[in-house]
């Protein structure tokens, strides 16, 4: 403990004072907060203890030092009331005995102690009162000052807001929840062409219009009811002079502290120019720049709306129109005239349907489409359109006769979709085009279904060949003289995974159109050669010939000779056991001359047959010189030969034709095979007419290779 100065020397008991001060310090620290360490507190109170001891002995006596001690206690923050209580009680009870005992005490000590108690209490109370007043005053002043600062900040903020409000380029308006406008800035007033005063007498409701976007008024109502806090819309206002101003309007709700709606604050920006530009861009985006007609995008938008809003039974019709031979016009007269023609046609189409409210759009190129509005006769519209197009057109100094084709589709809205409708229109336009110029076609779902089934088959052909879905059946060709099976004709079937076994009549035409016939034909050739080689190896005596059809397109291909040679070489089938069947037209080739390949094919040693002989226009002069081995008489001649046919003149004629054809063939040293032999009577007659071989259900229907093998195994049973 630090040394405490002892101003009056030994008359104060050092140890007594120190013990007293230590107890005092402990008490005040226990009873209240002392912002000092224990040692510091004790040191402080020792000073006061000594001071009180000196005062108690002083002559003349005064209680003033006790008052100062009381004040000092407050200044040291020893302000806990119970600490004062302790201090006063100890001063009366322990102090004389513990602190003053060492040096004795004056006779009036009890009066002096009482006076010192009073003095300490008075000094303490006065200081505490002063301090409390001072602190209360200071905290109150601080509170007011803080409040002033906040208010100043608010005023500053208000002033800044006011500056923003008045100076803003965007319009700002404030209204109560009753809609009454409270304040607007100059920009707001200028935008609407009113004065600020005029607007401040108005109600928000007056700024709404029936032609505002749907839901705008409801949105405002929800806001003033507190259900929405902000909204942003594009809104049109009418200025005082009646002109229109488009604005980007942002409205926010300001609430009371308790959450009740209080004001709405609207900020508007004049976007009239931007809006008009948008409208212009939108028009450009939706119209064809050449004709000014709605474009494809707008057409589909409109069509989509029709489908979205139409009652299910409402009929929707489109006429899809395409100029006939426009490309030729463009190519011969130039694009400039072509464009002018399109403008004229577009105008005429628009005029001819304008009264009926139909939409005419240019889909691109020389394609136009008319959306026939609700229930009107689409055919009548198409006829009007064709008539409008057909009137002579004067372009520059040219007078042009133009025609168009139209595909018409009309059906209830519920029965289709926009894209299906347009697909159907496209198909129908194709039909109209295929049927010739200047006409319309009406969509026929059944025809479309057939087209689609056909298309599906075409689409499936290449994969079918890859997957090995084709199979060969063989139909016997039998000697009319001795009844022996001399040959079989290979006939291709498609084992369709969904449709089952499909005959060649349903897909060979398609395969020829698409060119797949080359690949398919080669497969047939190689497969037939392989089967025939097996029969030859197993039944060499039978010398069974396999007859394979060559499509015109195959026969035309110069590679056919190599293909046949290769098929023979790879399978090991003797060439003379392969017969190739060509139609009369195929034999003549595409150039009107006999095929160059015929001689080379014949040179391989294969037999050549003319299929369906008598249905084409064979040039007998050529026929004489060609390496043909066999003629196959077409089915209709054979059909004319019937059991009861002898009485009928026409039948006699067929029989005479067959007779003549057989004689002709024999004169040319050709074999003759009669096709479509159905009955024994027919077979008998044909034999009588010296026809060499017959083929038909009478001799056996087309059958899988195993059936032929079985027939061969049965020997002469065939």
């Amino acid at each position: 403990m630090a040394v405490v100065p002892d101003p009056v020397g030994a008359d104060v008991g050092r140890s007594g004072a120190q013990g007293y001060a230590a107890d005092w310090a402990r008490a005040v620290r226990r009873l209240g907060f002392v912002p000092l360490s224990a040692a510091e507190t004790e040191r402080l109170l020792l000073v006061h203890t000594v001071r009180l001891a000196q005062a108690a002995r002083a002559e003349p006596f005064t209680a003033r030092p006790a008052e100062e001690v009381g004040r000092a206690l407050v200044e040291a923050h020893l302000t806990e009331p119970r600490a004062l209580e302790w201090s006063l009680r100890a001063l009366g009870a322990d102090f004389p005995r513990r602190v003053l005992a060492a040096g004795g005490w004056p006779g009036d000590l009890s009066e002096r102690i009482a006076a010192m108690q009073g003095g300490l209490a008075a000094g303490y109370a006065r200081a505490l009162r002063d301090r409390t007043f001072a602190q209360q005053e200071r905290i109150a002043r601080s509170a007011w000052q803080a409040r002033d600062e906040v208010e100043q900040a608010l005023r500053d903020s208000e002033a800044r807001f006011r500056a923003v409000f008045t100076g803003a380029a965007i319009g700002i308006g404030i209204a109560g929840v009753d809609g009454q406008i409270i304040d607007v800035n100059q920009a707001f007033a200028d935008m609407l062409g009113y004065s600020i005063e005029e607007l401040c007498q108005a109600n928000v409701a007056a700024l709404f219009h029936p032609d505002d976007a749907a839901g705008m008024w409801e949105l405002y109502q929800e806001m003033v009811e507190g259900k929405q806090d902000a909204a942003r819309v594009e809104k049109r206002y009418y200025r005082k002079d009646g002109s229109v101003v488009w604005t980007d309007l942002a409205v926010s709700l300001i609430r009371h502290d308790d959450g009740r709606p209080r004001f709405t604050v609207a900020m508007i920006e004049d976007i009239t120019e931007r809006y008009e530009l948008q409208q212009r861009l939108r028009f450009q985006a939706l119209h064809d720049p050449l004709t000014g007609l709605p474009n494809r995008t707008l057409f589909f938008e409109t069509l989509g709306q029709v489908f979205d809003t139409a009652a299910p039974e409402r009929r929707v019709g489109v006429c899809f129109l395409d100029l006939d031979g426009f490309k030729a016009i463009n190519d011969s007269l130039g694009h400039d005239l072509g464009d002018r023609l399109l403008v004229m046609i577009g105008r005429r189409l628009a005029e001819c349907v304008a009264d009926h409210g139909h939409l005419v759009a240019r889909m691109g190129g020389d394609e136009f489409v008319i959306l026939v509005d609700g229930g009107e006769d689409a055919v009548a519209v198409a006829e009007a359109a064709l008539a409008a197009v057909a009137a002579p057109v004067h372009v520059g100094d040219q007078q042009l006769a133009v025609s168009a084709s139209v595909g018409i589709v009309e059906c209830p809205a519920a029965a289709t979709t926009a894209s299906e409708l347009m697909k159907a229109a496209d198909t129908t336009l194709y039909w109209a085009k295929a049927a010739g110029r200047g006409r319309y076609a009406v969509y026929d779902p059944e025809r479309s279904a057939r087209d689609m089934a056909r298309a599906a088959l075409v689409a499936g052909l290449p994969a079918a060949l890859e997957r090995g879905e084709f199979v060969l059946h063989y139909q016997p060709i039998v000697s009319l003289l001795e009844g022996r099976m001399l040959a079989v004709e290979a006939l291709v079937r498609w084992d369709h995974p969904e449709l089952g076994l499909i005959g060649p009549d349903r897909f060979i035409g398609l395969a020829e159109e698409t060119g797949l016939i080359v690949g398919l034909g080669e497969w047939v050739l190689r497969t037939a050669c392989r089967d025939a080689e097996r029969w030859w190896r197993e039944f060499p005596e039978a010398r069974l010939v396999v007859s394979v059809n060559l499509a015109a397109r195959q026969a035309d291909d110069p590679a056919i000779v190599d293909t046949v040679a290769d098929a023979l070489a790879t399978t090991g089938l003797p060439a003379e056991l392969l017969q190739l069947e060509l139609t009369e037209s195929a034999v003549m080739g595409s150039a009107g001359e006999p095929l160059r390949s015929l001689h080379r094919l014949a040179a391989l040693g294969v037999r050549l047959a003319v299929d369906d002989f008598g249905t084409g226009y064979s040039n007998l002069a050529y026929l004489r010189r060609l390496p043909i081995h066999c003629l196959k008489l077409a089915g209709p001649f054979v059909e004319g030969i019937r059991a009861d046919g002898t009485d009928v003149v026409a039948d006699h004629r067929d029989e005479r034709i067959v007779d003549a054809l057989v004689r002709l063939a024999h004169a040319l040293e050709l074999w003759v095979t009669a096709e479509a032999v159905e009955t024994g009577v027919q077979a008998e007659r044909l034999r009588a007419l010296r026809c060499d071989t017959g083929q038909g259900r009478y001799f056996g229907a087309p059958a899988p290779a195993e059936a032929i093998t079985a027939r061969l195994r049965g020997g002469s049973a065939g």
Partner: protein, 270 residues
């Protein structure tokens, strides 16, 4: 007016700073503050003692920092610095010590400014602990504290006013990152560890001031020191932190419900 600080002075609501002042025996408070203080005191007789204990801890910690040569202090959440305040403790040892007080309560700030008007070595900032960058910026602008030299950052009984949602660990990291090596961080913080139910009830009552207290564990409080070196005896109940004399610690040092700790920023070797 800084964001996040009150835009109105509502003297009908008690203020934490003024309640605290009342508990320390001050008269810088209003009736509404005293009512709340008495209500809290009646429920938790320890609370007044806790606040005094916190003030004692701060005094001891500041002395330790002064002994380590620290002569500049940033006291965040200083409240009304009337009784046992940092600049008095510091300047008693080093008359040139500088102190910047920061508080969120505009009345406390106004009061501090008035009280310290004649003291050139102190400054007062009105800011929210949740905006440490603002505190650092404004402290630099005051020019009292040299950030290139060690300083003492004092967070006495204030971090528990920051809820977890306001990410106190990030706030502390920001403050630590601003300090030079050799700086000290002083934290006292209320805890639920070793506490009876009444303490937890009182915490709910404190929601009546503008600030609610989040009680945290010793580990969480220790985490606020980051990678700084925590001085002996670690993060402990406040009376246990370097008492002036062993007799100052009674049998229940945990009854004040708050941890105190001091850490130093030792520059990593290399």
């Amino acid at each position: 007016m800084p964001d996040g600080l009150p835009t109105e002075i509502d003297l009908t609501r008690p203020s934490a700073a003024r309640v605290y002042d009342y508990f320390l025996g001050g008269a810088h408070n209003f009736e509404i503050d005293r009512q709340l203080a008495e209500q809290i005191a009646s429920m938790t007789p320890n609370l007044a003692a806790t606040m005094r204990s916190g003030r004692d801890f701060l005094r001891r910690a500041v002395r330790v920092l002064l002994d380590a040569g620290i002569d500049q202090f940033l006291d965040i959440g200083s409240g009304i610095p009337t009784v046992g305040n940092v600049h008095e403790v510091a300047q008693a040892t080093n008359p040139k010590a500088r102190v910047v007080y920061v508080d969120i309560d505009p009345v406390a700030v106004a009061h501090s400014r008035e009280l310290l008007a004649d003291n050139d070595l102190t400054g007062v900032i009105h800011a929210d602990l949740r905006e440490p960058d603002r505190i650092l910026t404004e402290t630099r602008e005051l020019g009292l504290i040299d950030f290139s030299r060690p300083m003492g950052i004092l967070l006495a009984g204030v971090v528990h006013f920051v809820p977890d949602a306001d990410r106190p660990e990030e706030i502390l990291a920001t403050l630590r990152a601003a300090a030079a090596p050799g700086s000290f961080l002083v934290i006292s913080h209320s805890t639920f560890e070793d506490q009876p139910q009444e303490m937890l009830d009182a915490q709910r009552l404190s929601a009546r001031t503008d600030t609610e207290i989040t009680l945290r564990s010793r580990a969480q409080v220790t985490g606020f020191f980051g990678d700084w070196t925590v001085l002996e005896p670690g993060v402990v109940h406040m009376p246990l932190w370097r008492p002036d004399s062993p007799s100052d610690v009674d049998e229940h040092p945990e009854r004040f419900g708050a941890f105190g700790g001091v850490a130093r920023y030792d520059q990593p070797a290399g």
